[in-house]
């Protein structure tokens, strides 16, 4: 066995009685030097715990390895069983043979130390470098992770950097030791899709340069397809399938793997869009937004604001009944702000929002992203569902109860849910509750603000199905906000792409996805990890998101559009 890592029958448990509370129930795999293993699973699969066991960090979170061995071949050739090693030996492998990067770059960096100091510490711990040597090495590694202007960045504190930059700092710290194995625990989950692509490209390149092995943990099977040599699928603490990447993806053996591959929305560049679009027939739009501008004053001077964040800078679109318009973009593009303005949660600085008085007093309702946060934990389901009705004059009578049970049934929840509390439901069930609540007032339009983004992949698929059914049954119009192109492909009739507060491209879903015109749309689509394109190399591209802060009184130049098809417009870009 000349491999780097050999894990046999690993079992890890938590709490007072670890053997009774096992989260990892017998996992085995091998890893050779320079190989990349992708561990894929949904929440609760035990993938992170398995990874944290390799350098025994689980111990600090209350976990214990109850069984099995983890044989690690160190740089000097000796083989160590990590599962049985003592703390002193473990200190010798952490940050040296084994490096790690984590999911949340914001909280994973010490807020009171400069990034330079934190990287220098990594050099000191792994190679004993101090003073000027450590300083030079830090500058050098910052260059390798492509951080521009490295000298001045050294003195920055983590909160002054963006998410992508912070993750690069983490990678730099892990690289300092020239580790033989890098464990990456969902390193891009918290990042925007284009930033994710940049980090993935960086990791692929560094892997080539250093020849280090990598264990890449993720819930996104499409993402790992591009970087892993082998894949291991985990479910409920077991490794249900593992093998060469191509083999697992093209020829899955286990039911769960097949289920995952089916449930994951595959991005097919427009081939899988819906074809029940309504635009063919002329109709009155139910929502019409005209040149919406939302600005937030910034700079806490007493009387005069120092400038403004141009969150939304001139957005126009409309919605007809029965249609889904998806607004796609990354964080900070203004899509959520637009949605909230539509519902009156943000006050608009300028612009008009017309909503046809439709079937009810409040024709527009919303489903939020976080199913935990959008339901008051102290109210039971009956109170939660009743609230919108009671707020609009209905009384607590039998008709109300009937409507509640009817909607509960339609979203696939049992009748006895009425007496229960939100914490007794799973994430997917809670989101169904939110959908039922949104439908209580019989709205014409439902705004779905990243409504499926926080759900596991298999749950996501079911909820999307439900949404499509409901749309047909009740003739709803959807405004679907998302950053996930693959999900959008499944549900949208029309797509609007937003960047820096403006719509840059809009039109029929098939047209926008199969023939993107604007440079940002192209970049966005190129960054979407897709199983079908796993052979494509990620290009390393360093574009940063522009700042949205402008001096007071600044007005963007008027938009110029060009037509690229029947229902396909593109904003004209300034040629650089």
């Amino acid at each position: 066995m000349s491999g780097l890592l050999s894990v046999r029958d690993l079992r890890v448990g938590f709490g007072q009685n670890p053997k009774a509370n096992e989260v990892v129930k017998g996992v085995s795999f091998d890893l050779g030097p320079g190989e990349t293993l992708g561990i894929v699973g949904e929440s609760g699969s035990g993938k992170s715990v398995s990874a944290l066991s390799i350098n025994r960090l689980v111990d600090f979170g209350g976990g214990r390895i109850t069984h099995g061995s983890i044989q690690l071949t160190r740089s000097d050739g000796t083989v160590l069983d990590v599962a049985k090693a003592d703390e002193k030996t473990l200190l010798g492998i952490r940050g040296r043979d084994v490096g790690m990067i984590f999911q949340e770059p914001m909280t994973s960096l010490n807020p009171v130390h400069t990034v330079g100091a934190q990287i220098e510490e990594a050099f000191r711990l792994s190679k004993g470098l101090t003073g000027a040597q450590a300083h030079r090495a830090t500058l050098d590694v910052l260059g390798r992770v492509r951080i521009p202007d490295a000298q001045s960045r050294l003195g920055y504190y983590p909160h002054q950097l963006s998410g992508g930059m912070r993750q690069r700092i983490m990678i730099a710290m892990a690289l300092a030791a020239s580790p033989r194995l890098l464990i990456a625990d969902e390193p891009t989950t918290a990042l925007d899709v284009t930033v994710q692509a940049q980090i993935m490209a960086l990791l692929a390149e560094l892997r080539e340069e250093t020849g280090m092995a990598m264990i890449f943990i993720t819930h996104d099977i499409g993402l790992v397809a591009g970087i892993a040599d082998r894949i291991m699928v985990m479910q409920n603490g077991f490794a249900v399938e593992q093998g060469e990447t191509d083999g697992v993806l093209d020829n899955p053996q286990h039911e769960y793997t097949k289920h995952l591959l089916r449930a994951v929305p595959h991005f097919t560049s427009g081939k899988a869009v819906r074809d029940d679009g309504r635009r063919a027939e002329p109709q009155e739009p139910i929502v019409k937004v005209d040149n919406l501008v939302v600005r937030f004053p910034v700079g806490k001077a007493w009387f005069k604001p120092k400038g403004a964040i141009h969150a939304v800078d001139g957005v126009s679109f409309d919605l007809v009944p029965g249609e889904t318009l998806a607004i796609v973009g990354e964080s900070g593009c203004g899509k959520s702000t637009t949605a909230r303005a539509l519902l009156g949660l943000n006050s608009k600085t300028r612009g008009e929002i017309f909503t046809e008085a439709g079937r009810s007093v409040r024709p527009v309702q919303m489903v939020f992203q976080d199913p935990f946060a959008s339901l008051n934990p102290r109210l039971n389901v009956e109170a939660l569902l009743a609230e919108p009705a009671l707020a609009n004059g209905q009384r607590r009578d039998d008709a109300l109860r009937e409507r509640m049970t009817f909607l509960l049934d339609r979203v696939g929840l049992p009748q006895d849910a009425l007496t229960r509390y939100p914490h007794q439901f799973s994430g997917g069930q809670r989101q169904r509750l939110c959908i039922a609540r949104a439908l209580m007032l019989n709205p014409d339009v439902v705004v779905l603000d990243e409504a499926v983004s926080a759900l596991d992949v298999s749950v996501q698929a079911k909820v999307l199905e439900l949404l499509v059914d409901l749309q047909a049954e009740f003739g709803l119009a959807y405004l679907f906000i998302s950053h996930d192109m693959a999900v959008v492909e499944r549900i949208a009739h029309r797509i609007a792409v937003m960047f820096a507060g403006q719509i840059v491209e809009m039109g029929e879903a098939r047209a926008v996805l199969s023939d993107p015109q604007h440079s940002y749309t192209k970049r966005l689509i190129a960054a979407v990890p897709a199983i079908e394109r796993r052979k494509q190399r990620f290009a390393v591209d360093m574009t940063q998101v522009p700042s949205l802060v402008r001096p007071p009184g600044f007005e963007p130049p008027p938009a110029q559009w060009r037509e690229a098809g029947d229902d396909h417009r593109v904003r004209v870009e300034d040629t650089p």
Binding site: L343, G344, V364, A373, E387, N392
Partner: protein
């Protein structure tokens, strides 16, 4: 509610705390109803300065009064003042903190500045100032402690209320058009019960401490009504001859404060999601 008590009872500190509070409440009730071993005001002139015995469980003082009975009435006084003042402070502070967070803007600024002014005084000092104006006594103690603690409650409520205001379910309520009253009570207040409960218990502990301190200085409950602090103060000169007169009031005061502190701690452990995560 019932679930809360049972989880409190299961918690080690909570159990001890609840038992102590229960005992003290019992003593207070018995004291009020006059069911004490002896009449707390009666002077048993023959039995002055007697050490603890079968007749006088905690001994007698300089004037021949039964220490145990006086302690029971003293506990009654302390509990009465503590509960009354904390009740007032809770209601006033919660209303101010909640409205301050909800209205925001200029009202928030004004309310919080006024609270800051009150908080600029060390607590005992503010109480002393009030006593200076109105004169010492039971009612004054209640008022003083209530006034001192109101801004603390306002602060304790305002912080969580501000972050609750940002939560999605409050936004959702706004999209339905729910009335402000509904949002304030069902959405905000219901979710504030947890931090409030902890703070109320700790406030009770502090109120007991302050009341004892004020009566120790002679500025609280006035004689002849017994009060724990005054009993302790009076015992100073007789410390060497009659140590029991010092020890029992001291222990009684400490135990009472301990009981509420333990309960508050247990509540905090039970209700704080962060602690639960840490244990996991």
């Amino acid at each position: 509610m019932g679930k809360l008590f049972s989880s409190l009872f299961r918690h080690p500190s909570g159990r001890i705390g609840l038992v102590i509070i229960g005992l003290y409440l019992l003593a207070a009730i018995l004291g009020t109803l006059g069911l004490t071993p002896h009449d707390p005001l009666k002077l048993f002139a023959i039995d002055r300065l007697k050490a603890p015995s079968e007749t006088y469980w905690f001994g007698t003082d300089l004037l021949g009064r039964d220490a145990f009975s006086r302690l029971m009435v003293g506990i009654r006084q302390s509990m009465l003042i503590a509960f009354a003042s904390v009740a007032i402070a809770t209601v006033a502070g919660t209303i101010i903190g909640l409205l301050s967070a909800w209205w925001g803007g200029i009202w928030d600024g004004i309310f919080m500045r006024v609270m800051d002014v009150l908080l600029a005084f060390p607590a005992i000092l503010l109480a002393l100032l009030i006593i200076a104006i109105v004169g010492p006594g039971t009612m004054t103690s209640v008022a003083a402690i209530a006034i001192v603690y109101t801004p603390i409650f306002a602060r304790v409520v305002r912080g969580p209320a501000l972050s609750l205001k940002q939560r999605d379910f409050v936004d959702a309520a706004r999209t339905f058009g729910s009335s402000q009253g509904y949002v304030l009570t069902r959405h905000l207040l219901l979710n504030l019960v947890a931090p409030l409960a902890v703070q109320v218990t700790l406030a009770l502990a502090w109120a007991l401490l302050t009341e004892a301190g004020l009566s120790f200085l002679g500025l609280g409950t006035q004689p002849p009504t017994p009060s724990l602090g005054l009993m302790l103060a009076e015992s100073r000169n007789l410390m060497t001859h009659a140590p029991w007169l010092m020890i029992f009031p001291a222990v009684t005061i400490m135990l009472g404060i301990l009981g509420f502190n333990l309960t508050g701690d247990a509540l905090r452990d039970i209700l704080d999601p962060r602690t639960q995560r840490r244990e996991a």
